[in-house]
């Protein structure tokens, strides 16, 4: 069908055309209110057509693969290209050499993995959490298996296709006792191979982290250290960095990292990579949304900013090469995005990071706003535990925190050996100094 779509576009009066299609066979079991809720099984499709006509962009998508609908989508894309302004940076990447597909992303057994397997694993995770401690209440969760085939063809001769199997699971809920209800906690992770699925660990660690935050107390305002779990690091740190290294933000003058290549932007403990070729990561794939081979990109090396991430359009504008970060679904033209966002683990054990804290808070989650442009953040500590002289004392409640993430990056005082695989990142625990906490 991709070939048909490309041929249709080439027949028409366009200079360049690209077709991207995704098919996803998915089975999912939902958890709700401490029980299995619903099972779902289906296949979804999408096909997107991007055309350039005299450097003007047109884009249309359809999930219906009948020839009439494909023809119609091609027509719509061409119609848009006739009315949009011309932009000399609009072009498709040239055909590059053959790429080798990554090994380790497709479990051949995935096609026989079915809904009963998903149901059993969802139940196992639920039981692991509930049997760990009866005060744990699971609000929601899921186990999903997905088999995605994506393909890209363009008029310059690029032809790519690959199949990726993934298994994701998540669990969200709270702990309840006679003194009240804890904050929500949320954990999620995934793998590409059936043999690597471990829902029990997720269930247990979710439960353990929840009951630790019961019987919370208000605290007085202070300035001190924060220890971010990988989930909290994703909420507080990842988005701000991902925004600032994105060439779109840089070119829009909306990045704090503009003109800072080669400069120190964080503590020298911090090394950040974007690496879609890390097959442990859930955002791994062999090629990007324009068919460019993925590669490992070192973004921040021991505190020094090394590069931004690009697609073909932003790279052409910056007179550089794409980094293979064209991103997006088949429903929209390519943007730029990180793939597997990785903060390299450090040398310290988590427990020693905690034991070195004089006065601070360990937080499970950060619920608030991070302004990725100027870095200001303000929000509430979730699942906070107060640490005094290296000892975890009690859980905190109604603590707000505020500051600036770019200043905070320079105040990173420790990174754990331990790491977690999240939806689009692999992150360790981060310890940061000079954070303002406001008590309720």
């Amino acid at each position: 069908m991709c070939t048909f779509a490309l041929r249709e576009a080439e027949k028409a009066d366009v200079d360049e055309a690209e077709v991207y299609a995704i098919s996803n066979k998915e089975s999912e079991v939902f958890i709700e209110s401490n029980d299995l809720k619903q099972a779902k099984s289906h296949k979804t499709d999408g096909l997107g057509i991007r055309v350039f006509s005299k450097n003007s962009l047109g884009f249309a998508s359809t999930n219906l693969f009948d020839k009439d609908y494909i023809r119609n989508a091609v027509k719509s894309a061409i119609k848009l290209a006739k009315i949009t302004p011309s932009d000399r940076f609009n072009s498709l990447p040239d055909k590059s050499t053959r790429i080798n597909l990554l090994n380790g992303l497709h479990d051949k057994k995935a096609s026989s993995f079915d809904t009963s397997d998903s149901a059993e694993l969802a139940e196992d995770m639920l039981m692991a959490a509930r049997s760990f401690d009866s005060r744990v209440s699971v609000d929601s969760g899921n186990f999903t298996s997905s088999l995605v085939t994506h393909a890209l063809l363009n008029s310059k001769g690029i032809r790519r296709q690959e199949t990726v199997s993934s298994f994701f699971w998540s669990i969200m809920g709270m702990a309840i006792n006679s003194n009240g209800v804890s904050n929500f906690d949320y954990q999620s992770t995934g793998v590409h191979h059936i043999k690597d699925i471990d829902v029990i660990s997720t269930g247990k660690s979710f439960a353990k982290s929840l009951v630790n935050t019961l019987d919370s107390k208000k605290i007085d305002s202070f300035k001190g250290e924060i220890l971010l779990t990988p989930v909290a690091a994703a909420e507080l740190v990842q988005d701000a960095i991902a925004h600032s290294i994105n060439s779109y933000a840089v070119q829009k003058d909306a990045s704090q990292f503009k003109d800072k290549i080669g400069e120190s932007v964080s503590s020298d403990l911090v090394t950040v990579e974007d690496d879609a070729t890390n097959v442990k990561g859930l955002a791994a794939s062999s090629f990007d949304r324009e068919g460019i081979a993925h590669k490992r990109n070192v973004i921040i090396e021991r505190g020094v900013l090394r590069k931004f991430i690009y697609n073909t359009y932003t790279a052409k504008k910056a007179e550089t090469q794409t980094t293979g970060n064209a991103a997006g679904s088949a429903n929209s033209p390519p943007t730029v995005s990180t793939t597997n966002f990785i903060i390299k683990p450090g040398k310290s054990k988590l427990e020693s990071l905690i034991s070195e804290i004089k006065k601070g808070i360990i937080i499970n989650r950060f619920s608030g706003n991070v302004n990725p442009v100027n870095g200001d953040f303000s929000g509430v500590v979730k699942g906070g535990r107060y640490v005094k002289d290296g000892n975890i004392t009690y859980a905190t409640k109604e603590v707000m925190m505020a500051g600036n993430i770019f200043k905070a990056l320079k105040d990173v005082t420790g990174i754990s050996k331990e790491k977690r695989i999240l939806t689009d990142s692999i992150l360790p625990y981060l310890r940061i100094d000079n954070i303002s906490f406001t008590g309720g």
Partner: protein, 470 residues
Amino acid sequence: MKDLLAIDDLTSIVSKGVHETYIEARYQSRLTNEVNFSNGELERIRTGLNAGCGIRVLVDGCWGFSSTNDFSKSALREALDEARAVAKVLALTKKNKVKGLAKISNPVTGLFNTRVKGDLHDIDIEKKVKITKEAESDARRYSSLIKSVSCTYHEILDHKIIVNSDGVKAELYESRPEFSVTSVAMKEGDRVVVSEGRGISGGWEDLFREKDHLDYANMASKKALNLLDAKQVAGEKTTIILDPGMVGLIAHEAIGHMVEADFVLSGSITKDKIGQKVASEKVTLVDSGQSNNAENAAGTIAIDDEGVVASRTVIIEKGVLKSFLHNRETAFHFGSEPTGNARAFEYNDEPLIRMRNTFIEPGSERFSDMIKETRHGYLVKGARNGQADANGEFMFGFQEMYSIEKGEIKELLRGASISGSAFEVLKSVDMVANDFRYDIGTGYCGKYQPAKVDGGGPHIRCTAIVGGLQ
């Protein structure tokens, strides 16, 4: 584009049931158009069709769901078989089986159209491109300190058919446009970002009735510019006057989510509170499928995706908790009437309990008196986003605030967040103004799937924590 499925096709599928308690077939054909200009360049343009049929069954006390984008009889039949098969798989493990669904007394039949002025199908894409480009350009030219602007026009046009085994046979056309401008002002390395816009249920003329595209452009840039010179506020617990958008966020995030019946069953703090006083008696809080008090609220739906009429549900009446938000399953469980809150985003999503338009009813006080009677506090404006927690703690971000001293609005200050415990804050409400506006229609609520919702209210005065730099 021709209709891919008709009511009869869905009726035929639904009639294939044998032992099912319930079967529902939903056809949805969605057309999405989007234009975005950033800094003088077209950043994104797309038109997309997503159409298919979702089939959900309740069998052996378990829910199964499947969907297809193939409209042949055999494919529809396969989707039904798949939904049935996965429900039966679940029945082997699920402990608490669904006991039943609340009855629909008069199954809905017929056609429901969003009331629109200026059908979006009739507005050529060229015009949509033109106004987006113009607004972006105007916002950028507002001042040399405006360094970056992004302007988006987005529209969703849905055609839906909902048929179920309880006799519902309804067809709906829904129209949801939105328009927004984001301006970034910069001076000496300092940046302020402000967004202005509107998202509605309605047509082209409805979208731009109060303000046109250039008004939004000027508002965004003007505010961003003013905020460049504004200071940050220090954190404190104090008197806060919330604008209608912030009231909408409180109603939605801090209360609405707490009373979604699926969440109540997981142990929400509202679990045993029906009939209890949870807020000041000045507070009446509603979630409604209708656009009450003002027109074109973005979360307006005629019926929900289970075929229940989406009426006005009073959650809190004069401070007393009256109702949860239900689908038919939870309504049966609680022995209540279904409230029409079962919503699915696309054809391949299953209906979940979601809000619609959530708001606090206007009161009798004048906004000017509210300011006059405040010794020290803040007027908080421009809802950004927010979250609420299992224990009722919430936090919302906002764009700008003004200090109030001795009954007068004083200094403009930078946006920050406010937080508190939902019911404590609602109990602290001591003044409710007589104005009203919906103002969170450009956002989406996320709960496994997006949902288009709205929220609003009058200005209200309460006590909460404002967080800033120490």
